[in-house]
């Protein structure tokens, strides 16, 4: 009997051992999803640009900005040069992604600057598409020019929406004044 009890632990002692093991296991595992401290998650998100940003129209009919980080925004204080870039259309990879420009190829756009206000004269016949197309075309002009003007402010205090752009179609159509966020909803 003595030797048996040696090889076979008494229930009490065995129970204590098992309970300890179980507790240890449970402690190791913990139950449920435990809160943690702050953990590192990798590199920060980038994507903000200081360079020039042009707005084109996607296949879904929405305005989409593409950056031209290689072109310093300070060189494009003149809205006419921005319009020229818009007339040139998207770059090849952007074209492949389905971006287009709605601006026609005739170069008779004109623009004047007065403080925080820009007036763009749109050639006749450019705003002859569907209302959505016309709106996107105006959005391309307003956002690209306003962004360029805002970035050109070296103080860094001018926001894109601080620039108000008046679109003046040649002919009978009534002019309208816009800010960029009107088109980005």
């Amino acid at each position: 009997m003595k030797s048996l009890s040696l090889s076979l632990p008494e229930p009490g002692r065995a129970a204590r051992g098992v309970v300890l093991t179980t507790l240890a296991a449970l402690l190791l595992a913990g139950c449920g999803v435990r809160p943690t401290g702050v953990l590192d998650g990798g590199e920060a998100a980038g994507g903000l640009t200081k360079g020039l940003r042009l707005y084109f129209v996607s296949q879904a009919g929405r305005l989409e900005g593409v950056s031209r980080p290689s072109i310093p925004a300070t060189r494009f204080t003149d809205p006419k040069s921005v319009i020229k870039l818009l007339l040139n259309g998207p770059a090849k990879p952007e074209l492949a992604n389905g971006l287009t420009t709605l601006l026609g190829s005739d170069g008779s756009y004109d623009a004047t600057v007065a403080g925080g206000r820009v007036t763009v004269h749109v050639p006749q016949g450019e705003l002859s598409g569907t209302p959505v197309e016309n709106r996107n075309l105006i959005g391309q002009l307003v956002c690209s020019i306003a962004r360029a003007r805002a970035m050109a402010d070296t103080n860094g205090t001018t926001r894109t929406d601080d620039i108000r752009v008046t679109i003046r179609p040649r002919g009978d159509a009534r002019p309208g004044t816009y800010v960029c966020s009107d088109f980005l909803k």
Binding site: T21, A25, G37, L39, E43, G46, L48, R53, M151
Partner: protein, 483 residues
């Protein structure tokens, strides 16, 4: 008491201990395995979710950042936050901070889930950070990142996403539930296995116990079956070997005992014939002693007395041998005990020396000669070693099952050490008096005679001093009284 102890032993016995041990081992392994599997699966599930959220969040932030310009106002910040939240699933809340400005994609959401520690980490290190938090018992994953310009220079814009981990929590809880449902069958299975293995261990143990008890009861021939090659089989083999040795020793002892008894019987028998001749010669010499010279007469009388003593001793030895060899038989006859006892006393001339109390009409089936031997021995001893008055009382017990004949004297009584040996063969209470009149076998023969009747003789000291010998015989009534 014995039964209760046995029941208790069964309760804390090997079987119970085995079952408990098995169940505990099963529980421990199940719980440990579960805990490990649970931890692994939970880690895997959470890491997958965290990675997915981080990747999606970063993509959305970078996509939304393309349309975002600093400095920002509340409108553009809100647009940024909702834009990021749109791609992160229904339950995600995105909070964007730009300098002192903080907006949320869901204005009603609880922003305290973004801990100060996380806010600080995002602000101070130019890296993405994340944290799991718990609010109202529900787990959430909060990811925060600063949004940098291309070229990794900081912009002052921080974005946070809060997503629920409820689905992951439930998925891992499912593991525990599955285990909880599975653990009962596992424990039952363990108990059944324990019972089976306890059976294989306990069956040989029980057999050993049974064999041991049979040995204790005197059956030395009982053996156990040796099964298998384990320790229990070794034990059974050892038991059998021990039993063999014991049986052989006992048989040898019995053989020796029987030889010794046979020798005594043979010797006594061989002595009878010469003794008969010697007795005859001694009797003749004794009768003629008066005619002999005084010295020769003295010698002749001594030879005659010693021859008579030797003759009695041989008779007693032969009587003892008959008891030992089982050759003694009862010759039961219907007897009036009062009359038989009286006859014993008068035959030996003791009637006047013994005060008797003999109720009449006590009739029983006894061996008259043997009762005579017993009574004569008891009374003779009382007269020889005790002091008068010697009393003899015949009585029947109230239930009518036993007859008792009590012989008491008023002598010094029996010393305690003598009481235990008074029925031993050749035991002399008084060692100085080696040549007493008895052969030394008287009380032993009386006891054997009582036993032959199914009775006993008890020796004790009376309450008022003196030895008391009590013969107890079962009362077998003669047939004619039953009829």
């Amino acid at each position: 008491m014995r039964v209760a102890r046995r029941a208790l032993r069964r309760l804390v016995g090997l079987r119970t201990r085995l079952v408990v041990a098995f169940v505990l081992i099963a529980l421990a392994s199940a719980v440990t395995a579960t805990a490990l599997a649970y931890r692994e699966s939970r880690t895997a599930v959470l890491e997958r979710k965290q990675d997915a959220v981080r990747t999606a969040f970063k993509n959305r932030v970078e996509q939304a950042a393309a349309d975002f310009d600093v400095p920002a106002d509340e409108v553009s910040l809100t647009r940024f936050a909702t834009g990021v939240a749109d791609g992160l699933g229904d339950d995600a809340v995105v909070v964007a901070r730009y300098r002192s400005l903080t907006v949320s994609s869901d204005a009603s959401a609880d922003r305290s889930r973004i801990t100060p520690a996380l806010r600080e980490a995002v602000r101070d290190h130019n890296r993405m950070s994340f944290q799991r938090v718990e609010r109202d018992g529900r787990p959430y994953l909060v990811v925060g990142t600063p949004v940098t310009f291309d070229g990794a220079s900081p912009s002052g814009l921080d974005a946070f996403a809060v997503t629920s981990l409820r689905a992951e929590s439930e998925a891992t809880a499912g593991v525990l539930e599955a285990v909880r449902d599975g653990i009962v069958p596992v424990v039952l299975l363990a108990a059944v296995l324990a019972l089976l293995s306890a059976g294989t261990v306990l069956r040989p143990v029980r057999e050993l116990g049974r064999a041991t008890r049979r040995h204790a009861a005197g059956d030395l021939s009982s053996r156990v079956r040796v099964r298998g090659r384990d320790e229990l089989a070794d034990l059974a083999r050892d038991f059998n070997e021990t039993a063999d040795a014991l049986e052989a020793s006992v048989a040898e002892l019995r053989e020796q005992d029987a030889r010794a008894k046979r020798f005594v019987a043979d010797v006594s028998h061989e002595l009878r014939t010469p003794l008969a001749a010697m007795t005859m010669v001694a009797t003749v010499l004794d009768e003629d002693a008066d005619a002999l010279p005084p010295d020769t007469a003295q010698a002749a009388r001594t030879v005659s007395e010693e021859t008579a003593r030797l003759s009695r001793l041989v008779d007693d030895l032969m009587e003892m041998s008959r008891f030992d060899s089982g050759a003694a038989h009862l010759n039961l006859t219907p007897t009036d005990l009062a009359e038989a006892v009286s006859a014993t006393l008068s035959l030996r001339g003791w009637t006047d020396r013994v005060r008797t109390e003999l109720p009449h009409g006590v009739r029983a089936l006894v061996d008259r000669r043997r009762v005579d031997v017993i009574v004569a021995n008891l009374v003779g001893n009382a007269l020889r070693h005790g002091a008068p008055p010697v009393t003899l009382t015949l009585a029947t017990d109230p239930a009518g099952d036993w007859l008792t004949v009590e012989v008491a004297d008023r002598g010094p009584g029996l010393p305690p050490e003598t009481l235990a040996h008074v029925f031993d063969r050749f035991y002399k209470a008084d060692s100085a008096r080696t040549r007493s009149e008895g052969s030394g076998l008287g009380t032993a023969i009386a006891l054997e005679n009582a036993r032959l009747h199914g009775g006993t003789i008890e020796a004790a000291n009376g309450p008022e001093g003196g030895a008391v010998f009590t013969l107890r015989l079962p009362w077998r009534r003669p047939r004619e009284e039953h009829a």
